[in-house]
């Protein structure tokens, strides 16, 4: 297996125009990933700027309510900027600085990655342009305003699906204009190698901390870890530390939207076929002609037709099970967690909370589940209210 591939997945399927910056990034990452100075600087910002480590919160009322396994929440929502995205962004931006790049660009769906990149751009005084689908610009207005306040320029992308996929297309095209000076900060574990590996490495701090924390609290490993999967960065971040612990079950939760049968969903592993998009061979939602389909999820951050290649590989090897939660399940979990724990989760993370709740019910009381609470739900309030008024709740 080539190092750029995960089984049959991954690789560098990208136009020659972008191979120079990708090879350059590969070289730079190889050079710095074990560099003491680089890791110390990253660690400094993780502690003093992001606020790591994040707590592992025992969800007592939720656990009592379900009267099953103990549920712990890995609180990535408490990171500065409100989600796990900043872990990866700071890693990539510190790399961009060392590579003397003059401008950061990024795609964003829910806006959390965009906000994280705009934040890092302000912190390190680098120019920043964010690409966001027109639909997402509307449904995640608060994050658009945050990015603007932070000094980023926003490109609203009105082509195609007007969501994350087309934002990524436009970012890649923009990158081609000036590959020497632009650093493309990809927000998820997708894209051409080395992005999937790099994003996994930078996000693996989630699982590392969670493992240490649960061993200290419970003196044993969890029975199950659950995380939502769009591109899959928070999920691989949590899973990474547990991949070798075969007794720990791992579940990734894809967005079922209005249900797999309706075709309106974003579950690439459960409902897709093998293809090539945005630099990687991966499972895709596409037609039999290889045209990429419109996806749908109530959560903008999961609304993407592909998935990180590592997840396809972990699905094939059966190390991770990929399940589905639809819009209704996510909304239910959102409500329950808010009311029982006083934590308003992101709609993305609510998908994972829902599946964790379902599993907990049939597990023993001394068993343990860790859910990655990848982000906070402030950005989703408008979407939730709209959904409820449409469903007469």
């Amino acid at each position: 297996m080539k190092k750029s591939h995960y089984g049959i997945y991954g690789g560098q399927y990208i136009a020659e125009s972008l191979m120079m910056p990708i090879l350059e990034l590969e070289e730079a990452y190889d050079k710095y990933k074990n560099d003491k100075n680089f890791l110390e600087e990253l660690d400094y910002y993780m502690k003093n700027y992001v606020g790591r480590e994040t707590p592992l919160t025992f969800a007592k009322r939720l656990t009592d309510f379900l009267s099953g396994a103990k549920i712990y929440l890995k609180r990535e929502d408490l990171n500065h900027t409100g989600a796990h995205k900043i872990n990866n962004v700071l890693g990539q931006v510190l790399l961009a600085k060392r590579m003397n790049k003059k401008k950061l660009i990024a795609e964003t769906g829910a806006g959390m990655h965009g906000v994280a990149v705009a934040t890092a751009a302000a912190l390190f005084n680098i120019e920043c342009e964010i690409f966001m689908g027109e639909i997402d610009v509307k449904r995640q207005k608060a994050n658009v305003d945050r990015m603007k306040i932070l000094g980023a320029k926003i490109h609203s992308v009105s082509e195609g699906t007007k969501t994350l996929k087309d934002a990524m297309n436009e970012a890649m095209r923009f990158w081609t204009n000036d590959p020497k000076n632009i650093f493309y900060v990809i927000g998820t574990a997708a894209g051409p190698y080395p992005y999937p590996m790099m994003v996994q490495d930078f996000q693996s701090i989630i699982g590392k901390e969670a493992k240490k924390q649960i061993l200290s609290i419970e003196k044993k490993l969890p029975n199950l870890c659950v995380a939502c999967v769009g591109g899959g960065s928070n999920a691989i971040g949590l899973f990474d530390a547990f991949l070798g612990d075969m007794d720990v079950k791992l579940i990734g939760v894809e967005a079922g939207g209005k249900g797999i049968k309706t075709g309106e969903h974003a579950a690439s592993i459960n409902g897709g076929r093998l293809g090539v998009l945005h630099g990687a061979k991966t499972m895709l939602l596409e037609t039999f002609d290889g045209q990429i389909l419109d996806t749908y999820s109530i959560s903008a951050g999961l609304d993407y037709p592909g998935v990180g290649p590592v997840h396809c590989y972990l699905n094939d090897t059966k190390r991770v099970k990929y399940e589905i939660c639809d819009d209704a399940g996510a909304i239910m979990a959102f409500d329950i967690l808010s009311k029982l724990e006083g934590i308003i989760p992101a709609l993305e993370s609510s998908h994972a909370v829902f599946v964790a709740m379902e599993k907990a019910k049939s597990m023993k009381k001394d068993e343990i589940i860790i859910v990655n609470l990848s982000g906070r739900g402030d950005k989703d309030l408008e979407t939730i209210l709209k959904y409820k008024s449409e469903h007469n709740e």
Partner: protein, 263 residues
Amino acid sequence: MNRIIDIFKKNKSKNIGTFVGYITFGVHSIDFTLKAIEVMLKNGVDIIELGVPFSDMVADGAIIRQASLMALSSNVNLEKIFDAIGIIREKFPQNPLVVFSYYNVIFSYGLEKFFKMLEKLDLDGALPVDLPLEERDEILSIMKGKSISYIPLIAPTTSEDRIKKIVSGVENTFIYNININGTTGVRDDLPLDLKDRLKLIKEIAGDIPVVSGFGIQKYSQAKTISNYADGYVIGSKIMKIILEEDEPLVKLKNFVRHIKFGE
């Protein structure tokens, strides 16, 4: 017989550049596309790049994307292209016809089946735009022994060492140099260092012909490139005429003749 080798040889002996013309298959309609290809071939285009529509064209500018989405709205796919192209092959037995596609469309169709069809229809080459050196073995192994040419791309940022690697291991083909950093589109000016770049690529390529494309819209640009390379590619300007002009086939004819003969 290899049409690609032959046409470059023929043009070289006449001391003229080989004109590669791109068209998005299915723009306006399949019938229109076939007519436009005829106009192009009758008036000076030597090689046709048959552009396969794709929903997510990361290397293309707005014009070609617009044409592609138009073709997709009438469900143009590889099967329909293969069904229609026979008539062009029959009418123009000397002109190379090469398929320009994003890799996912070919991959989805089935790699074995795709190259078998190319061979069966007597098409001449394939240019998968997002299949770089690192990944190309997965089609080169299937193309082995078939009379289909693999056309590699070189970008302004491709290092000298990398050009050598790209060029080695391909034969009976031509090399497509990208003039500019950016997506396909119409540009007023080409980079000043293009001549030096083309000289370098020609030197490395040896006997393999080199064409240069992206941004070309004028006779003078095509002429300049022909002084340093074996030919030039025009896509966006052709598609702009097809999409925007009232009498596109007449305007297309005039444009092609202008580029080829300076008319």
